[in-house]
């Protein structure tokens, strides 16, 4: 270490040899990584027992940066992979962190079924409304009329309302925050990590370099100003009415229920099968 340098407070959560990261300046992904590290710190989690799984895309690289066991899967498949990990070793805390395209376009089927099964995993989605890594194509959360390289006349597809989808599929904990809500996001991650069953947190995240530039919010400040102006904290409001619009981003907790997880039911079934 160079004299005068200070150790980053999250040093122990970051994998040496992987930094510098690939993310653009002003990207929300770093904030999500920060909040995740803070949550692990606050809960004093044993990092040897945490597995971070990600898919493909900008946020997909996060598994490489976390100083835990980690796996960077094929596009859309982190939840299916995480299901295998969790069932094979229930002692592990398995967290999926991935993007909106990965989890809800190519990986949508895995999301809905893992939520339905109530697999004991935590899913954090960085929703930046666009495919950033490939240069800015529209995805399943791109707002109507938004400009992307594959919607050159404006987006004509309706966007997924992710918290509504997660709630409908049976997730036991559902929350949405923006990358501006650092403390609340951290608290939600902590809550999710302690929850039995399938939990889902959507992080509305800024992509100033691509989504922002294409849509008249070309700086991190402009994007986060949108988050600040549009966000309304409404805990346990109806997720069906929480579509993200230019005027309003409903944030908060939407679902926090108790329901037997797949792991619990599996253990009970296995005990019964052995007794028979």
């Amino acid at each position: 270490m160079i004299e005068g340098e200070t150790v980053h407070p999250y040093e122990r959560f970051l994998r040496r040899g992987m930094i510098p990261h690939i993310w653009c300046e002003g990207c929300g992904n770093g904030i999500i990584l920060n909040c995740f590290a803070q949550a692990l710190e606050d809960l004093n989690m044993d990092l040897d027992k945490v597995v971070v799984v990600s898919g493909i895309g900008c946020i997909g690289r996060i598994s490489g940066y976390t100083n835990t066991d980690s796996f960077h899967t094929t596009h859309g498949r982190p939840i299916a992979f995480a299901t295998g990990v969790k069932l094979a070793n229930p002692e592990l805390k398995v967290v999926v962190i991935s993007g909106d395209g990965d989890l809800f376009a190519i990986g949508g089927n895995h999301f809905i079924h893992a939520a339905r099964r109530n697999i004991d995993i935590q899913v954090i989605c960085a929703n930046n409304f666009i495919y950033g890594m490939t240069g800015g194509q529209y995805g399943p959360t791109t707002p109507l009329d938004a400009w992307t390289t594959t919607t050159p006349y404006g987006n004509i597809e309706h966007a997924f309302n992710l918290v509504h989808l997660a709630a409908a599929c049976g997730a036991v904990y559902v929350a949405r925050w923006t990358a501006l809500h650092v403390r609340r996001l951290t608290e939600s991650i902590k809550k999710a990590l302690q929850k039995e069953g399938f939990s889902f947190i959507e992080v509305v995240s800024q992509c100033p370099e691509i989504f922002g530039r294409y849509n008249k919010m070309e700086t991190p400040l402009k994007m986060t100003q949108w988050f600040k102006q549009a966000s309304q904290v409404q805990h346990f409001s109806d997720p069906a009415k929480a579509e993200i619009t230019p005027e309003k981003i409903t944030v908060g907790e939407f679902v926090d229920i108790e329901k037997p997880s797949y792991g619990r039911l599996l253990r009970e079934m296995t005990t019964k099968a052995k007794e028979k």
Partner: protein
């Protein structure tokens, strides 16, 4: 007959069972404790057997939402330290190709059973086929080597499934059990050995305690890295991207790409003699050799015996393993074999490999599609035909 004792790991004794069930029992005997699959004819009985047996032996069987997820979950379970398998047929095998590539790239020990039916597409779900043998070899994108075994009896469904696990654990590579619908569904006597006499191989564990220096993809002299699993404190990273020995993505280095991909190929190519299994019957002095596998090999054996009874010097080269292809074993017979006959339940797949290895020796191909396998008389006629040429 042995009774099916509940909860026993290996059902040692003699049984009458079908190929799919024997395959499931072979997996359990080999130590498989995770099965992720999706119903598909004619492989469903494997999933059904696993659903009943996995809880009894302390394992997990989950029916995933599709074969893409099944393959992903199998890789996850293997990285969590549990021997894992999936079973499918053609359409599901197509869906699995993406994550089979991931298993190859991340050197994941796992077993994929394909009970082959008639294709392309939905094809003939209840009819046999041998149409996926090239897909097994080349179905995922990029360059790689895999291992494939081809049982031709219910006993071999048990034995070769055990062997598939052992090979996958040894070489850290997905191993395919490529059976056809007939082998999967036919009922035969199976002898399951005592558990202690079943050879079980487990993956190499790291020889050093967890440290920041641990390199999860640093190969040994045999080109195969030791494998830590999740939760042991190694805190390692694995990725489908081209990576270095530490698992760090190396997407812009030709040298890293060359080193990794060549090693993934060479760890199989340089160990062929430990993998390839060929059963030669009356081949030593044969003038005609039938090269066959799976159900076609049984009619071929009958045909070769009939030919011998008629004074024709015929032999059978039965491919117990399909991939890597036994070039050396074919070359060994070129001195005396004047022609090859290759019966397959497809339009000509492994025959291309035989032609390549035959180096100009004539090769006759005998295609069969649909319900009925080759008849011994058809193969006998083909033997007769190549000798008259």
């Amino acid at each position: 007959m042995a009774t099916m004792e509940k909860g026993k790991l290996a059902l040692s004794g003699q049984h009458f069972m079908n190929g799919d069930i024997a395959c499931a029992e072979g997996a359990i005997a080999a130590g498989c404790r995770f099965f992720g699959g999706y119903p598909i004819t004619p492989a469903t009985e494997i999933a059904e057997r696993m659903a009943r047996r996995m809880p009894e032996v302390g394992g997990v069987c989950i029916q995933m939402e599709d074969e893409i997820a099944s393959m992903a979950a199998v890789i996850g379970a293997s990285y969590a330290g549990v021997k894992a398998m999936t079973a499918t047929s053609g359409p599901g095998f197509s869906l699995m190709q993406e994550n089979i590539g991931l298993a190859i790239m991340t050197e994941t020990p796992c077993v994929i059973v394909n009970i082959m039916r008639g294709g392309p597409s939905t094809g003939q779900p209840t009819m046999p086929g041998q149409q996926d043998v090239m897909q097994a070899r080349w179905g995922s994108h990029g360059d790689y080597e895999i291992i494939a075994l081809a049982p031709s009896s219910v006993q071999e469904m048990f034995d070769l499934t055990v062997e598939a696990f052992n090979l996958s654990e040894t070489f850290r590579v997905p191993v395919f059990v490529l059976a056809d619908e007939i082998v999967g569904h036919m009922w035969e006597r199976v002898t399951i050995p005592e558990a202690e006499s079943i050879r079980i191989v487990n993956r190499k564990k790291p020889t050093t305690p967890p440290s920041i220096e641990y390199a999860p993809f640093q190969p040994d002299h045999d080109l195969i890295p030791h494998m830590a699993v999740f939760g042991q404190g190694y805190r390692f990273h694995a990725t489908g991207l081209t990576h270095d020995e530490h698992g760090r993505p190396r997407t812009d280095s030709s040298e890293a790409q060359t080193r990794l991909v060549q090693r993934l190929c060479n760890k199989i190519r340089k160990n062929k003699e430990k993998i390839i299994r060929v059963e030669n019957v009356m081949v030593e002095d044969a003038e005609v050799a039938v090269v066959a596998y799976g159900i076609a090999a049984r009619a071929a054996l009958s045909a070769v015996r009939k030919a011998r009874a008629m004074g024709v010097k015929a032999g059978l080269i039965r491919l117990v393993s399909l991939w890597p292809f036994p070039d050396v074993q074919i070359a060994e017979v070129l001195g005396h074999v004047e022609a090859f006959v290759v019966p397959e339940m497809n339009c000509g797949q492994m025959v291309r490999e035989v032609e390549r290895a035959a180096k100009g020796t004539p090769v006759a191909f005998l295609s069969k599609l649909g319900e009925e396998p080759h008849r011994p008389s058809e193969i006998l006629n083909a033997i007769d035909g190549v000798l008259k040429k």
